[in-house]
Symmetry: C2
Subunit: 330 residues, 2 copies
C-alpha cells in the first residue's frame, strides 16, 4: 500500500486553514489527550495498482446503485449500504436475496478506505478484495459474477464507461475492473470535518465540556487501545462475544483456534448514525454499546455518567456526509 | 378535483417564454398534428383536500426512501420506484418481500399525478388512495399499516416533521397524512421540457424529420385515441391481452364481465427509460411494444419503417428528470 499525493489539494488547504485559525484560540489544557488522536484526512491511502480517477469513481458510483448485478434484479450495494441510513441499513443483520437474513450487522462503507481489513472477520484486506463478495454471497445479491459481467456487457453505456475508466484494455468489463471501480467510488465516501476533527484542528469550542469529558474517559479507560488512528480502528482482531452471539468470527477465515470469536475493530466514525451495534446488531443504543464494551473488553462497569460522557463524545464523530449522485442507469 | 393555481409560476413563465420565442421559427406545416397534443405542465392538478406545501413534500421525500415502513426493514417505495431506473425497476414484474414476484410490471411514478386512475387496474383514483397499497401488499412491503405508523412514531424527527407538515392536529402521524405526504412528494416528480414539449412550445427543430414522421404515424394510426392529453394517457380502461398474460386486470376490481382483461392506458412519457413493457413486463424493447400495440389494439401490422418512426417519436417524450434528495433518515 503506497500513499499517493492527495487528490483534493484544496480540501487539504482548507484543513490547514482551520488548523492555523484554530491555533489562535485559548488552549483547554487537554493537548495530551488530543495528541492521542488523528483527524480524518479527506481521502484514504490509495493502492499502487488502482489510481483514483474521475472515470473510475463515476463508473463505481453507477455500479454501487446497480441492482441488475443481483440475481433478483432489485438488490444493489446501496440496498444495505443505504446513503439515507448512514450508508448502512439500521437493522440488526443484513437482509438480502429472497429476504434471507445474514449472520452479521452491515458495516457502513463510510471511511472504509481507511481500514486495513474489510468485513467483520477481515477476510478481505482492501476494498478491491471486498467489493465482489456481497455480489456473489448467497444471502446477499446471490449473483454469479460471470452473469453479472454479462448483464453489464449488454448495456452500451457500461461498455463506454468501462472503456473510459480502463483505457487500452481489450475487455475492460471484467472482475478486476468491476472491483476497482467500486473500490474507487467507496474511497470517496469519507466524512471529514466532524466536530471532533475541528477540535483536533484547533477549534477548542467545537466540543462542549461533556464531550471533552467523554474524550478523556475514552482515553483513560483504554477504549483508544483498539479504537485508534484516523478511523478509530486499529484494523486488528480482538476476541469478543457479545450477548446473543455464537459467531466464531475470524476463525471462519483462518481456522486458527486463537482466532475463534475474534472480530476486526469497527470504526467509530459516524457511530451515532450507524446503529444498531455489534457483530450481531443486537445492541440498539450507543449507551448500551458503551456499557457492553466496558464489560467485555475492559472488564469494568462504567458508571452512568461515564457512559453518558463517552456517548456524547462518540456523537462528535459524525462528519459531513459525502457528496454523491443517484446515477441515471442505462 | 379542483385545479389550483400553479405552485411554480416562474416555471410557467419559462414555458411561455419558450412559446413566444419558438413562435418566431418557421412553421413545419404540421400544426394540425401538434394541435392534437398537449405539453406537460410542470405540476399536475392538486386535490382540494391536500394542498402542496414544502413541509409535506419534504416529509414525503423522506417517507418515499424509508425502508422501515416495510416488514423486512429493507424495502422502500424507492426500491421498485428507483430514481436510478426511471423511477421504476426495469425488471418484468415487481419483486418485493422475501423475493416474491408480483403479477405486474412496476409503473413509473414520474408524472403519475397527471393520471386519473392509479395502478394498472385503476383500483385507486388518485395518489392519496394509491400510496398505502404497496406498503400493505403481501408481495411488496408486507407491512401492517399500524405497525408502520408505530415505527415512525418511534423517531423524534418524524414526530417533528409530521407536526410541521400537518399543524394543529393532535396525532399527525396517521394513515391519511402518510398518504398525503407521499402523494405530495410524488406530485413533484414530473418531467416537463422533453424534446416533444419544446416542439409543442414552438421549437420546430426540437424534433428531427424521423421523429416528426413518427408523430404523424402516431396520430394517423390512432395511437392517440387512448394515449392522449398531457401525460399521453386517457386514464381509461381498455381490453388487451398481451402475449403471455392471463391477468384479468380491472375485472379484479369491479367484478364486471365487461372489465375482464381491461387495463388503464399507461403513460408514454419517459417510455424509453421505463422498459420493459406491458402489464406483465414481457416485452423488452420499444419496437416490439409498438408492433404488439398495433396488432392488439389497432388490428394492423406496422411496417418496419413505421415502427422505427414511432419509436423515434416515443424517444422524444423523455423529459428532464426531477430534482430530489436522498434524505438523511433518522
Amino acid at each position: 500500500m503506497i500513499i499517493k499525493s492527495h487528490p483534493l489539494s484544496c480540501a487539504i488547504a482548507m484543513g490547514t486553514a482551520l488548523l492555523v485559525s484554530g491555533a489562535a484560540l485559548a488552549d483547554d489544557g487537554l493537548g495530551d489527550y488530543r495528541d492521542r488522536f488523528e483527524p480524518l484526512p479527506h481521502f484514504p491511502p490509495l493502492p499502487a495498482d488502482n489510481s483514483l480517477t474521475p472515470a473510475k469513481v463515476q463508473l463505481g458510483n453507477m455500479l454501487f446503485f446497480e441492482p441488475r448485478i443481483s440475481s433478483s434484479g432489485v438488490i444493489s450495494c446501496a440496498t444495505c449500504h443505504n446513503p439515507a441510513l448512514g450508508w448502512s441499513d439500521r437493522i440488526p443483520r443484513a437482509t438480502g436475496h429472497d429476504g434471507q437474513i445474514g449472520e452479521r450487522n452491515t458495516p457502513t462503507v463510510l471511511n472504509s478506505g481507511f481500514l486495513d481489513a474489510q468485513f467483520w472477520d477481515g477476510r478481505a484486506p482492501d476494498l478491491e478484495a471486498q467489493a465482489l463478495g456481497p455480489i456473489e454471497a448467497d444471502v446477499e445479491m446471490a449473483m454469479d459474477l460471470g452473469d453479472a459481467l454479462e448483464r453489464l456487457e449488454g448495456f452500451d453505456l457500461y461498455q463506454e464507461r468501462f472503456a473510459e475508466a480502463f483505457p487500452d484494455q481489450e475487455t475492460p468489463i471484467n472482475e478486476t475492473n468491476l472491483a476497482q471501480a467500486l473500490a474507487s467510488f467507496q474511497r470517496t465516501l469519507n466524512t471529514p470535518e466532524s466536530p471532533f476533527d475541528r477540535y483536533l484542528y484547533g477549534d477548542m469550542n467545537a466540543l462542549n465540556e461533556q464531550e471533552k469529558d467523554g474524550m478523556v474517559a475514552f482515553v483513560d479507560n483504554g477504549c483508544i487501545a483498539c479504537h485508534r488512528g484516523p478511523n478509530l480502528s486499529d484494523s486488528q482482531f480482538h476476541r469478543i462475544q457479545v450477548p446473543g452471539s455464537t459467531d466464531v468470527g475470524r476463525y471462519e477465515v483462518t481456522g486458527e483456534e486463537s482466532d475463534r470469536h475474534k472480530f476486526r475493530t469497527p470504526t467509530l466514525r459516524n457511530v451515532a448514525v450507524t446503529y444498531p451495534y455489534m457483530n450481531n446488531g443486537a445492541t440498539e443504543t450507543l449507551e448500551e454499546a458503551v456499557a457492553i464494551m466496558g464489560q467485555e473488553m475492559l472488564g469494568q462497569d462504567f458508571q452512568d455518567e461515564e457512559i453518558a460522557n463517552i456517548t456524547a463524545f462518540l456523537h462528535t464523530l459524525t462528519g459531513e456526509m459525502p457528496d454523491f449522485e443517484v446515477p441515471a442507469l442505462p
